[in-house]
């Protein structure tokens, strides 16, 4: 494989798979709210 091809492969993997990991981490930090429980008070960001 040529250098540019390897670079593009790494860029593709980092952006798409990295995006997937970032999305999963974001979701895990916001756990599901139970239907019956009252909503958590808003958190200051």
């Amino acid at each position: 494989m040529t250098g540019t091809a390897i670079v593009m492969m790494i860029v593709a993997m980092v952006t798409v798979w990295g995006g997937l990991i970032a999305a999963i981490v974001n979701l895990a930090r916001h756990p599901e709210v139970a239907e019956t429980e009252p909503e958590a008070p808003p958190v200051e960001l």
Binding site: M1, T2, T4, A5, I6, V7, M8, M9, V11, A12, M13, T15, V16, W17, G19, L20, A22, A23, I24, N26, L27, R29, H30, E32, V33, E35, E39
Partner: protein, 540 residues
């Protein structure tokens, strides 16, 4: 079914947010990810295609996915009911999406049946090395020319029998309902699909010539970025790949619990779908690199997509590679699983719509929907002219069904009904990824422009040259006639009144939801148990 007695009141729901996410990924990851993306990317500049691809994902795919989620979750209904609750006159859009799903489901099932047979053939190299092309068209499909024979009724048992099995399997899944059927099927099939595909990719990478394939796939051709057609193909691909705008995501989102992080879930679905495409690109081009080396040609000479890639190129690779049978079983097995999880999501659009409309139980609706579809599917696609009908119906329903309904839907919702601000507020209620005016701009302005451009170029292409060189009467019936009749039927269906038993009139679940969220009551639902003194939010 335990739920049968409560069916008319309580809406079905996914067991958890994760089950919904896996099911939505199962729907989005279909045959297109495996057999379409690698070639589209290769043709569109290889490594350079990543730029229009990511652009399309971020500016059109994800915004439209959020748009579908917002409609389904805010109006809590199948496509026709959700659009009806948004505005009485928008109901036609929902039925149009349902009818598109009817067409897609009948031909999608047959590709799964072919793949299932090829999983079996791969294990024993049934086609005989060197005979892959003839085996598929002559021995397996017994393909006949529609120009000579017309639409054939000659039954091809090696296609018809697995097709019955595929329909029986999906009917059982659908009868079990959202939680126990669709949810559970995705919880089993999606992890299995991922593992199988990962093994396939690793095995392909060890084939001689694999790196040449990857080189061809990732070497950027920067000049391609100056070509508007490459950008159009990136937007078109993202649009079909994410299963947006034909009712699936609206229906699935309506089964989410009331308090759900919609945008956070949507981002996982969108990136998982794209992540699978990159994986498929690596696997497919590694295998094609091997095939090119074995035949002493360039990768450009063997690269293909769709049916040609799956049923001719891959069997060739299976014949020539050491351990080819394993590659074949994994590849065709992956196609079957990816196809089944997508097919059940397509069927769910139809089943949910009729359940809402008629207030029937799950099993009764499923049987009334699926059995006639299975019969039509058998009649058209277990015969010798299956390939021509499939090819034509697919091309026309994609361009003038899915793309057209998406275009009309974003224009109607954004510009005629002005509902984007309300949908934006609904998304932001519990979402971890807030959306704002940029989202409204992307859905309301960029999406109609891009979809409009794609639609018009498809229209010009299909009017100027007869698609696939098929005879005019044939394209008239299975192409133009089919897509036009979908619109007419959708209008007729939206004129039929909703009975008192339907979910438009009697939906306690929705009434509770409106009260809890402080939304204005829907004019059609019966008793609104909202305490009058409660303050209601401005969002409708």
């Amino acid at each position: 079914m335990a739920t049968a007695t409560t069916q008319t009141n309580k809406r079905e729901a996914f067991g958890s947010r994760n089950v919904f996410i896996l099911s939505a990924i199962g729907s989005a990851v279909g045959l297109g990810n495996i057999w379409r993306f690698p070639y589209v990317a290769y043709e569109g500049g290889g490594g350079a295609f990543l730029i229009p691809y990511l652009c399309a994902l971020l500016t059109a795919g994800i915004p439209l996915l959020f748009f579908d989620y917002a409609i389904g979750h805010r109006f809590r209904g199948s496509a026709p009911l959700a659009f009806r609750r948004m505005h009485r006159s928008a109901e036609t859009l929902g039925w149009w999406q349902v009818l598109i799903c009817v067409v897609i489901s009948v031909y999608y099932a047959v590709i799964i049946a072919w793949s299932a047979m090829y999983t079996w053939f791969s294990a024993q190299l049934t086609w005989g090395p060197g005979n892959e092309n003839d085996f598929f068209f002559v021995d397996f499909l017994q393909s006949a020319d529609v120009a000579e024979t017309g639409v054939s009724t000659q039954f091809v048992p090696q296609v018809g029998v697995p097709l019955i099995v595929v329909w029986l399997a999906v009917i059982v899944i659908m009868c079990l309902g959202v939680k126990k059927g669709i949810g559970r099927a995705n919880m089993i099939l999606m992890p299995l699909l991922t593992v199988m595909f990962a093994v396939l990719v690793v095995q392909s990478l060890f084939l001689p010539g694999a790196l040449d394939g990857l080189n061809a796939f990732f070497t950027p051709n920067w000049e391609a970025l100056a070509d508007p057609a490459v950008w159009a193909s990136a937007y078109g691909h993202i649009f079909f790949s994410l299963s947006v705008a034909f009712g699936i995501m609206v229906t699935y989102a309506s089964y989410l619990k009331r308090k759900t992080d919609l945008t956070g879930s949507g981002l996982v679905v969108a990136f998982a779908n794209s992540g699978f495409e990159i994986l498929a690109g690596i696997g497919v081009f590694a295998a094609l690199g091997f095939m090119a080396q074995a035949q002493g040609t360039e990768v450009a000479g063997v690269a293909s997509s769709g049916i040609g890639l799956a049923f001719i190129a891959f069997p060739t690779i299976v014949s020539q590679a050491t351990g080819g049978s394993i590659i074949g079983v994994l590849f065709f097995g992956a196609l079957v699983f990816a196809g089944v999880t997508s097919l059940i999501s397509i069927l769910e659009v139809i089943v949910a719509a009729l359940q809402d409309k008629l207030g029937w139980s799950r099993i009764r609706t499923t049987l009334v929907v699926s059995v006639p579809l299975a019969v039509i599917s058998m009649a058209l696609f277990s015969t010798t002219t299956a390939l021509s009908v499939l090819d034509t119906a697919d091309a026309f329903v994609n361009a003038f069904g899915i793309m057209a309904v998406a275009l009309v839907a974003v224009i109607v919702v954004a510009w005629l009904l002005h509902r984007l601000p309300a949908l934006k507020d609904h998304l932001n209620r519990r979402s971890s990824f807030p959306v704002g005016w940029i989202w409204m701009l992307l859905v309301g302005a960029l999406a109609p422009l891009v979809l409009g451009y794609l639609f018009v170029s498809e229209l010009i292409a299909k009017i100027t040259t007869p698609y696939g060189g098929y005879p005019a009467w044939f394209l008239g019936v299975f192409g133009w006639g089919m897509v036009i009749s979908l619109v007419i039927l959708a209008i007729l269906l939206s004129l039929l009144p909703w009975s008192g038993r339907s979910h438009a009139k009697d939906d306690v679940d929705y009434d509770e939801f409106l009260a809890q969220e402080h939304y204005d009551p829907d004019p059609e639902t019966s008793a609104i148990p909202v305490s009058a003194d409660e303050q209601r939010g401005a969002a409708s």
